[in-house]
């Protein structure tokens, strides 16, 4: 499949932004967060904005509607939409454009919908406010767009409430809402980031189809280059509020001009060399676990797997597959109703409070959200020092020495000792969490989605650090993740979970090479690749299979 290349008429220029500067207020002073960015958008074009958090991509996306967040201001530059200047335009004029001519799709649909109104009521809100159509017309239109976005039962789904549809469907309903007034420009702000890969593919397909057919233009904001590659004609890479590189999507993916872009492209290509498992007594053995919350229905059914010494086992699955519940059973937060957890051949009590201190020391946990995994009121030295004092209590001097040593191991230094978590970046916080786990000198570390809240480059550094620590200290990892690139980068063995059951498990390469279980196949084929044709190929393949 090739894109049509013949252009008979010059494309219509919809949006031109020049020299855009945006300032944000911090500690009472105005600081530049976007430092002079130029971009333009033609009809029928999708521009991908990519960068790490703090790069200013969402801020620019909002500025394209002439909007600055609370505590921000558009301090310089021009934002020209079809000859109208949006920067400092009167609010009344902006209102006639926002949601009507330029629409916005936010990252979390669940947080953006009003939970107490039906989807179609919320769909009709903007067209009614702009007196474009009657409710009845809006309803007909909603049905049409729902259908084009491949939502099931387009006529009926509008009459459901937000909680009655799935996350992916809700995200598509939000895309539909943005399209209610046939806007010229749609701004997508990380619309698939919160979704599972298998759901993400549905939303991506829907967005791609709809943008192509409705002849509008779109700005697609994401941190994931593989996602943006599927949709964009042009890509703009942002970093620290500046444009690093801009260009045609294909040529940028083939030959990035800047090192930073090349780094972004290189992430997720890391693959661990797997050594064959040694036959020995497993360190952790989970046997026939069945468990549920508060006497409710079981969320885990007969789950069993093993973790060998010095190896990494990845538990993969989409949200709701029960992978986090497995961790909660192992840690003792969720006592199982059936089955048993063995550690080093010894039965573990299902209840956390019945487990002795030395056993607890031997496994530590690293959490998903580094922001809430460290107490904001403790200094770094106390966060790392506490497990040392708690388990070993070697005296003040020795503790301080150990803390310094641990900081060194996680590639930080003594200047961090007296800092509070708020003075650390996300990646640094996660490093501190790793040091806290290491401080206990554990034999097993349970990592619950430890990289999913981090930027890709930072996540990669964390994975490398974990790998290096494993090589040095011969610990085992139980890695819970939904991201298959992470699995490739770190796992020796893989456990695939689906609806509370283990569907496949074994050495990574065995699980990842066909023949697969049906679900493993779906999961593997849903991970976006850095290839602009990937989405079309997958869809063609799936259509072929179902036909």
């Amino acid at each position: 499949m090739t894109e049509p290349t013949i252009k008979t008429i010059p494309p219509e220029r919809l949006l031109t932004i020049t020299g855009l500067e945006i300032q944000g207020k911090q500690d009472g002073k105005w600081r530049k967060v976007v430092k002079g960015v130029d971009l333009h958008l033609n009809r029928g074009e999708v521009l991908g904005l990519i960068g790490e958090s703090g790069a200013g991509k969402s801020t620019i996306g909002l500025a394209a509607m002439g909007y600055a967040r609370e505590g921000c201001r558009l301090s310089a530059g021009t934002i020209n939409y079809l000859g109208k200047e949006l920067r400092n335009a009167p609010e009344s004029e902006l209102e006639s454009i926002r949601g009507y001519k330029i629409a916005y799709v936010a990252q979390s649909a669940a947080a953006s919908f009003n939970p107490s109104h039906k989807l179609v009521t919320q769909f009709a809100e903007t067209p009614l406010a702009h007196k474009m159509m009657t409710f009845h017309e809006a309803k007909t239109k909603a049905e049409d767009i729902y259908g084009r976005l491949f939502l099931p039962d387009p006529a009926g789904i509008g009459f459901r409430y937000p909680h009655q549809v799935s996350g992916g469907q809700l995200q598509r309903a939000m895309v539909a809402m943005a399209m209610a007034c046939d806007p010229d420009i749609i701004i997508f702000d990380e619309p698939t980031t919160a979704l599972d890969v298998t759901t993400q593919i549905e939303v991506l397909t829907a967005i791609k189809e709809v943008v192509k057919k409705s002849n509008c233009a779109a700005i697609y904001i994401t941190h994931d280059l593989a996602v943006v590659a599927q949709l964009s004609h042009r890509i703009m890479v942002l970093r620290h509020g500046l444009c690093v590189e801009e260009g045609d999507a294909r040529s940028m993916l083939d030959a990035p001009r800047e090192k930073y872009t090349a780094d972004l492209l290189a992430v997720r290509r890391q693959v661990k060399e797997v050594s064959p498992p040694k036959a020995e007594e497993p360190l952790l053995k989970v046997e026939n676990i069945t468990a549920g919350y508060n006497n409710g229905p079981a969320v885990l059914h007969n789950v069993g797997f093993e973790v060998l010494r010095g190896r990494t086992v990845a538990v993969v699955g989409e949200s709701g597959s029960g992978k986090t519940s497995v961790a909660r059973v192992i840690t003792g937060f969720l006592p199982q109703s059936e089955g048993m957890v063995y550690f080093d051949g010894i039965e573990m009590s299902p209840y956390l409070k019945h487990r002795d201190k030395d056993r607890l020391r031997k496994w530590q946990m690293i959490f998903q959200m580094p922001d809430v995994a460290v107490n904001p009121r403790h200094k770094v030295k106390d966060i790392i020092g506490r497990p040392i004092r708690f388990y070993y209590n070697p005296g003040r001097k020795e503790t301080a020495r150990r803390v310094s040593e641990l900081l060194d191991m996680i590639e930080l230094n003594d200047t961090y000792l007296d800092r509070y978590p708020s003075e650390l970046s996300g990646g640094e916080k996660q490093r501190v969490c790793i040091a806290r786990a290491l401080a206990a000198q554990p034999e097993l570390i349970i990592c619950d989605e430890v990289t999913s809240a981090l930027d890709q480059l930072v996540a990669e550094e964390i994975l490398k650090l974990l790998q290096r620590l494993q090589d040095e200290l011969n610990m085992s990892y139980l890695f819970i993740t939904h991201d298959l690139a992470t699995v490739r980068a770190i796992a020796d063995d893989v456990v695939v979970m689906y609806q509370g059951r283990v569907v496949e498990h074994g050495p990574r390469d065995e699980v990842f090479t066909p023949p697969h279980h049906e679900y493993t196949q779906l999961l593997l084929s849903s991970v976006p690749k850095m290839d602009p044709d990937w989405l079309d190929q997958v869809l063609a393949e799936r259509r072929r299979l179902s036909a």
């Binding site: 840690t331 937060f333 607890l360 020391r361 946990m365 998903q368 708020s422």
Partner: protein, 278 residues
């Protein structure tokens, strides 16, 4: 040495409002401490005619029995501030400790404590206090303990609600996984994060307790005459307003100035801890 420089640094970073508040609180405490030296007349000494205007020998005039108002306010600082402060402290210590523990432990302990608190809160506080005080008698220690425990129920509610939100944080999970005891979790993980809201409540509670004790005094079950107490002085002299005499406004003003000062300091503290968090 290091500690001292830290305090000086803290003071230098404080805004004007907090400094004014702090100055007034320190002044109030000094007055309370040195009351016998500062007061021109005795606490319950009848020195002149009833409700004299301010000026001359009696800077703030005299009260309904002809006692010197200034001396009464100075002695009143001693009684009112001390009693209200101790009461608030006890209420907070008991309420916060039990509230945080209940939230962290959960289970039957949480149920038991919460239901006891519910029962106490089901009665109007004033009526309950009157009932208990009339049984136990009206000495100052009894008054302090009874009012403190009644107010602790409010603090318990707040502390428990705060701790519920904090206890689900992953750093608390991390501490539990480590095998930490409940007391450590309450003291080191939960309390520092609940403290800003608790201290804000402290500022408010202090004012409420001040006024509550004065209502009890008015009803004859609080601080007993002739002991000077700002709250009861307002009540005792309230009749003077009918004759256009401003006497009751002086103790009322003292209460207002002190509570505003406390809240100015509390505001600054809240602002500071919000910065640490962000």
């Amino acid at each position: 040495m290091k500690k001292e420089s830290k305090w000086i640094k803290l003071y230098k970073a404080s805004p004007l409002s907090a400094r004014i508040g702090l100055a007034i609180i320190i002044f109030g405490l000094a007055v309370a401490l040195f009351a016998p030296l500062l007061a021109p007349y005795g606490e319950s000494e009848v020195v002149a005619d009833v409700w004299l205007s301010p000026g001359g020998e009696h800077l703030l005039g005299t009260d309904q029995l002809g006692r010197d108002m200034l001396s009464r306010i100075i002695y009143g600082a001693r009684n009112s501030i001390t009693i209200a402060f101790i009461t608030t402290l006890i209420a907070f210590f008991v309420g916060a400790f039990l509230g945080l523990t209940a939230a962290v432990t959960g289970g039957w302990l949480d149920h038991l404590l919460s239901r006891i608190v519910d029962i106490f809160m089901a009665f109007p506080t004033l009526i309950l206090a009157l009932m208990i005080l009339s049984v136990l008698g009206t000495s100052v220690p009894v008054l302090i303990v009874v009012v403190a425990l009644l107010d602790a129920t409010r603090v318990f509610r707040l502390a428990r609600a705060l701790a519920m939100d904090i206890a689900i944080m992953e750093y608390v999970d991390a501490a539990r996984l480590r095998g930490e005891k409940t007391l450590y979790i309450v003291r080191r993980e939960i309390l520092p994060n609940a403290l800003p809201a608790l201290i804000a409540e402290f500022g408010l509670r202090f004012c409420f307790i001040f006024l509550f004790i004065s209502s009890l005094s008015f009803l004859g079950l609080g601080i007993q005459p002739p002991t000077a107490d700002w709250g009861s002085m307002v009540r005792e002299n309230s009749g003077a307003i009918n004759f256009g005499i401003l006497t009751p406004l002086y103790p009322a003003g003292a209460i207002a100035v002190l509570t505003v000062s406390i809240n100015m300091v509390v505001d600054w503290f809240l602002h500071r801890s919000a910065q640490i968090r962000a």
